[in-house]
């Protein structure tokens, strides 16, 4: 089961590797990202960022969905990561067993900031990403924003109300 599906444009990094894997107590990390699945250099840096004792799989989004739906995945707490809302939406539509979706860090380093909607200090969404997020909150799974565990969980639906 996916203990948390996190949307984070940095995928595995300090906040994720050290803080969230401890908080969530997830032995397995799955990075669902088409670019990472093809790029050996990205894979090496993601492996370097993976904490000692945690297992890592790097898959394209479609292949990751197969991993999540593998019967063996039912017995394992998995921390899943995508770097955009659209990929998280695709997973959420195709995988049943997800405890919650954390839209944490998206689009802050976008080159096209003029055409992006900022809904928090760490969320800058393009029109496509915003549309995907609106669709995501309609699904039957909690969708929230929480950068680090010591932050309060904020429901994304409430953050979208004024957009």
């Amino acid at each position: 089961m996916i203990a948390q599906l996190r949307v984070d444009d940095r995928l595995i990094h300090g906040q994720v590797a050290l803080v969230w894997t401890k908080e969530l107590d997830t032995p397995g990390i799955v990075v669902a990202n088409d670019n990472a699945a093809e790029n050996e250099m990205v894979q090496m840096t993601l492996k370097m960022a993976t904490p000692t004792g945690k297992k890592l799989l790097i898959r394209s989004v479609d292949d990751a969905i197969k991993v999540f739906n593998n019967p063996k995945a039912g017995n394992m707490r998995i921390f899943a990561l995508t770097n955009c809302v659209a990929d998280a939406l695709k997973i959420a539509k195709n995988v049943k067993d997800i405890d919650g979706i954390n839209v944490a860090n998206v689009g802050r380093f976008t080159k096209d900031a003029d055409n992006a909607t900022q809904i928090s200090s760490t969320l800058m969404l393009s029109d496509d990403e915003l549309a995907a997020l609106k669709e995501l909150v309609e699904l039957d799974v909690p969708v929230f924003h929480q950068v680090v565990p010591s932050n309060a969980k904020t429901s994304i639906a409430s953050m979208l109300k004024n957009i």
């Binding site: 050290l18 803080v19 894979q43 090496m44 840096t45 492996k47 890592l56 063996k72 394992m76 565990p149």
Partner: protein, 135 residues
């Protein structure tokens, strides 16, 4: 949560605190001393930490043999259940801060061993195995 003090020459201590705030949101839970950035005597701040900190507590200093470490050692070495760690880096402070186990000398040594500076060498990635993952 363990009581933690970082003491350094200059702004390293508050700089690490800033990094920890970004990474964990827990920067405020750490006390810092930036020594020698002005003329203030920082020893009273060390003593204040020793007086108020819950035990076990940890004081991180920047440099073995540096004057900050010497002053900390003079003030705290005889205190029960205050550990002094020097040659500090960000990783070791975060592992102590986020660690949930009881802080003993032995356990602290493990956390230190896991947080060493190291040369970055990328290993060519072997094909990861799904069966391995679920084992």
């Amino acid at each position: 949560m363990k009581d933690i003090l970082i003491a350094s020459h200059g702004h390293m201590a508050s700089g690490i605190q800033s990094s920890i705030e970004i990474l964990t949101g827990m920067g405020d839970s750490i006390k810092v001393i930036d020594a020698y950035v002005d003329q203030t005597d920082y020893v009273p701040k060390i003593n204040e930490f020793i007086k108020e900190a819950k035990r076990p507590a940890v004081i991180f200093t920047d440099l073995l043999g540096g004057s900050v470490n010497q002053k900390v050692t003079l003030a705290a070495a005889k205190e029960k259940d205050i550990f002094i760690v020097t040659q500090t880096n960000l990783a070791v402070i975060m592992s102590v801060l986020l660690d949930g186990e009881e802080l003993t000398k032995e356990h602290l040594q493990e956390l230190i061993a896991q947080s060493q500076v190291q040369l970055v060498e990328l290993e060519s990635s072997s094909e990861d195995d799904q069966d391995d993952f679920f084992d």
